[in-house]
Subunit: 689 residues, 2 copies
């Protein structure tokens, strides 16, 4: 419960470091820019396997690299600052003063220590901090020219032939964009603006390399794998080029959440034509948990595979906790700014104002939050649509705004000030995660009018945000029975112009509290297959309590496996590499390789040891299920040797005999059928053919 | 490890008894036969809910009924013996002598004590124990007449007007069957034979009542629920009558596994137009576990929702362990007889013979095993199809038979003697579970030619087994990526004439050992939705070790929730009753009701207590996620009161305003779109509409 942390008592967060079993951190250098170092993990196999190491996507950052010295007091290396400055269009400035209310008024021994280093924030040079509602679009377009186009940006087809080579240099679309958009564009700040202007950023090159992981190895049958998959209209390439990344971002179909003030992060792409990503939620609340715990939760979650992390803190010390998290985070960090804004008005929703909210956006943008959940689609007119729901409004953000709107009988300030929000977020390249404040909180409420009315508004807002140059993804439900899941995906793609979908589960039944990582893992795998780009994890504690370290791990692994199941089903060319390596290890009784290739090597090993703890059993050619005399894998290995030695003639003869036997059976059946009593159902059974 | 159990040391199994939290065992009496008492569980809610108790399907048998005295030494009450004898056509006989090899040669202190009571087995009066391969069908048809039709059987439309009333007395099909089939039928023994002859058994009345559970309460909107569901061509009725049950069984689309020598069981139906069932596996192996553990595992698994249990024991004491299990089991028990047959030939597959196998079938049929997994579809001609697989043959039964066939270079004796097997199983009403010995053991091997060749053979065998009067279900995979799951279901329905499908998962990825209850729970929910009638559970220990008590529970709950998710998606009229009750409890902060309505009340309560242990928090109107000041549910309750008081005019005005706002936004977007840089992607985004 609410552990106080004072300046003196404050302990530097202790985080988990070290390589995963049999794993090495490998950095590769993209052809398009060999100065970039893109991480992946390689799992070494036992020499008897006679197989190359298995490459896997690595979200764990430098913490799993034994060659990097981790110092949480200093934070991670700020590699991207140089990239951002080189691109130009930004200015360094003093930034907003930290106010007592940013930390919920915590003082003295209750105030968590500030992160030791303060970096001046960057923002778009053309950003007008006095921006008022009513400023017209053309005013802003005029201001954009002041920012200008620096000669450090790389424009496809002009000064970046080296990089264009990595993509498709003949891309007519690329060329056209450049020509078309040079008319009046502002200096590009966001990844979206760069993409639309035909510019391939370092981040794009980085994520292309990162996504391809193992794809080169799998490339031989990539076309076949893609063709055999069912991607429901997605456009999964055999190989990912930086130009493909740029094009997907320009189309609004993918985002790289990367605040220019979070230079510590390893860029990552979210979109339906890329690997399915997962998110873990952390955050202290008024009731429990501390700064140290939250930083370690972030490190811990990414160690097991969280592609990014949302800090959902409420209560005290929100600002300082977040600073520690971001400075040490190799993955994008998302927040729901309304939570902190509410803290600043002592938890009284009616007292929220646009000014408090706006100030909070800037506070968090300066810190480096990579995406904001903004529930701007919860409109006054939709609230009464929730009145007859079984579970009303379950989104915290949604219910806060609903309460505010009803108290003032006014439209949501998130909606009326949406364009100002866009300008702020564009100035730092904070991505939108347009929140689903009216998502269903129960099976009974799934796919109702309230939910879909909001989704339609989110579609409108997506266009506005894109027009302002922002990156956008859309949040989705929630609680949805299996037969109603695809409807959500299809509608989202249609309404939101294929902007990436980011769903919470969905939970496919309400009756299993304590197991909602599983009720939702089912829905997550399915909607990921249908096209959702990122899955927000659910832990076993959902609906019941705050997840601890073990719960976070179980939630992450569950969502990792759901995302992977989706990648397999979509036909991702390299996804099956790991499944096949693990299956071969299983077949060949390479127990150590099985553990090491598993998403959770520790648990796999532990479970094995509970039954057969002896070290010798790790090399035994049997397992506890069947015992030494009676092992199907062992028998099969013998069968395989035998079968492999058959001649083609023998195989042919066998098949003929099988056909003959089947024919005899059929004849006997026909004979018996008329003698006995099959007449009635015979016809009906054939009817479904 | 292999605990020895001697006659003197043997401990009577201690089993878990007592009601689940807030639950009462209720027995209802079907209109068609009020003498039958059909159990269900009712969960009482807090008085403030002002709601009736929630009825749920109850698999736990008398163990959860405080009014029944449990004595494991005596076994459960043998209620069905009377039903079977009343129907006639059966004889009591001395039965086979128990041989030392039935218990794997265990003697002295290693031999588990026999179950104290010995009951003489029943079998079909017309069964010919000297049956030899080559006896023709017509010979057997002649023998059938000797058995005759007793006047105790109830034939639809003749002496059972009372019962016919429960079904559809005008059913033309029913009437026709009776007339058509009376030509030369044998005295019906199996549920299938009764159904085909138009006879509604006690078991059919029992399962109709059992399945309807809560359906009367949900009946008001049953038609709507069924219509909104997606059942992929299944035929889910709004209300289940005994006649519907009979008809489904006669069509081969459902089975009631109920050996006439397992009179202790509470009948249950498996078919795609009924609630999805789940199965738990237990069984000692050569390496670990004891009689006591296995009996308790059965009781424990059914307590948490296992509809039936497979005893997969190997090693010593198989016979005696099984006897203890069956005599105390309220659910159907399945086995894989080849496992025990292999023990009898010291684990050397080549030494198996038809005679040893046949003797084992009779041994187990006399004990009361309700269904046998028989891998008769693994044919000699299919073995070489597995040679290039990543994981070969992973089914134990399949690999044993493959080894036997290759050693002898002969067709499988399970295939060549299939009709004799049918006659034995028909004589006791042991249901077929036609095993998928060539199921894929990895994602790489899914849906390959070996798998589907076997499935086609299983389709042929289904017809033969039906012709012999047997009940049949079909086993399915295994390891299958999501996009290949529905292909399995569709092919099974087509090849096997809609006989119930019984699948193991399938696992949707291979990379998460330790979490395969989840990788498979995803596939199980999906294939259950598509039409699988029973899901074979997978525990977290799958591939790694033997499940302990906790693993069994986690496996059962996971599959229970997957099956329920499938029932919801199929549009089962009463399935959502429990979801809605739990969601209302959640919304109204009735914490105790949430726990009690959960599939696993203990875990739900425990998880809550880990964060908020105080008893007072159980009535608090907040939870640990948000804390007292900041609760979305609480805010929503206020919103709801407010919205409920709006007039229709106010709602209308709001909607108009919303439309206006949206229009303004759209106009602004259009304006900006042409000014800024949206030209290129605008068109493409619309293209997916």
């Amino acid at each position: 419960m609410n552990k106080p942390t004072s300046q003196s008592e404050f302990e530097t967060p202790k985080v988990t470091t070290g390589a995963l079993p049999a794993s090495r951190k490998v950095y590769t250098h993209p052809k398009a820019d060999p100065s970039l170092a893109v991480p992946r993990r390689e799992i070494d196999l036992h020499p008897t396997a006679n197989e190359p190491p298995v490459p896997v996507y690595d979200t764990s950052g430098p913490y799993s690299d034994p060659n990097v010295e981790i110092n949480v007091e200093k934070g991670l290396a700020r590699i991207r600052t140089e990239w951002v400055k080189e691109r130009g269009g930004v200015v360094e400035y003093d930034g907003r003063e930290v106010k007592p209310e940013d930390n919920g008024g915590a003082t003295g021994k209750y105030l968590a220590r500030e992160f030791p280093t303060h970096n001046k924030p960057l923002r778009a040079a053309d950003f007008d901090p006095t921006f008022k509602s009513g400023t017209t679009t053309s005013d802003r377009a005029g201001a954009a020219e002041a920012g200008g186009q620096t000669n450090k940006t790389r424009i496809l087809g002009t000064n970046t032939n080296d990089r264009a080579g990595a993509g498709d240099p003949n891309s007519a679309a690329g060329g056209n964009i450049t020509e078309q958009k040079q008319k009046t564009p502002r200096a590009p700040i966001t990844q979206y603006e760069h993409a639309v202007q035909g510019i391939i950023t370092n981040e794009m090159i980085y994520v292309a390399e990162r996504e391809n992981l193992g794809r080169q190895e799998a490339l031989e049958n990539a076309a076949e794998t893609v063709a055999q998959g069912e991607s429901f209209g997605a456009d999964i390439p055999e190989f990912i080029t930086p130009e493909f990344v740029r094009d997907e971002i320009a189309k609004g179909r993918a985002i790289i959440p990367a605040n220019i003030n979070h230079p510590e992060l390893e860029p990552q792409i979210i979109g339906r034509n890329f690997l399915v990503k997962i998110n873990a939620n952390i955050g202290n609340s008024a009731v429990a948990s501390s700064v140290e715990e939250e930083v370690e939760k972030m490190v811990w979650a990414t160690r097991w595979g969280a592609d990014n992390v949302m800090d959902l803190s409420t209560g005290r010390n929100i600002h300082n906790t977040r600073e520690w998290i971001i400075r040490n985070s190799p993955v994008p960090i998302g927040t729901v700014p309304i939570y902190q804004a509410l803290e600043k008005v002592d938890g009284i929703a009616e007292n929220l104002t646009w000014e408090v909210y706006r100030d909070t956006l800037i506070e968090q943008a300066e810190q480096g939050v990579d995406y904001f959940t903004i529930h701007a689609g919860v409109r006054l007119a939709y609230i009464h649509l929730t009145a007859n729901r079984v579970t009303g409004i379950v989104s915290r953000g949604g219910s806060i705004m609903a309460k505010w709107m009803l108290a003032h009988h006014k439209e949501s300030f998130l909606y009326t000030h949406f364009e100002e929000i866009c300008e702020i977020m564009r100035a730092y390249d904070v991505s939108f995660s347009l929140g689903d404040g009216l998502r269903p909180g129960s099976i009974a409420d799934a796919n109702d009018r309230a939910q879909f009315a909001e989704l339609e508004t989110l579609g409108e807002l997506t266009k506005i945000a894109h027009a302002h140059g922002c990156q956008v993804m859309i949040e989705g439900p929630g609680h949805v029975p299996m037969h109603k899941i695809k409807i959500n995906m299809d509608k989202q793609l249609r309404e939101c112009g294929e902007a990436p979908f980011y769903t919470l589960g969905p939970l496919t039944t309400d009756i299993a509290p304590g197991y909602d990582h599983i009720t939702s893992g089912i829905g997550a795998a399915m909607i990921g297959w249908y096209g959702t780009a990122m899955l927000c994890y659910v832990t076993p504690k959902e609906h019941l309590g705050l997840p601890d370290r073990d719960d976070v791990k179980v939630g992450v692994i569950t969502y990792r496996l759901a995302a992977h199941a989706a990648d397999l089903a979509k036909g991702h060319p390299a996804a099956q590499v790991r499944d096949d390596a693990l299956s071969r290890a299983r077949f060949e009784f390479r127990w150590e390789d099985q553990f090491n290739l598993a998403l959770d090597p520790e648990t796999a090993r532990d479970f094995h040891d509970q039954t057969l703890p002896k070290e010798a059993h790790k090399v035994a050619h049997f397992c506890s299920m069947c015992g030494p005399k009676f092992c199907s894998m062992k028998i099969t290995a013998e069968v395989r040797d035998y079968a492999a030695n058959m001649t083609d003639n023998e195989k042919k003869a066998l098949n003929l005999e099988a056909e003959k036997g089947m024919k005899q059976m059929s004849e006997k059946y026909a004979e018996m059928g008329s003698e006995l009593y099959l007449a009635e159902d015979g016809s009906k059974r054939e009817a479904i053919d």
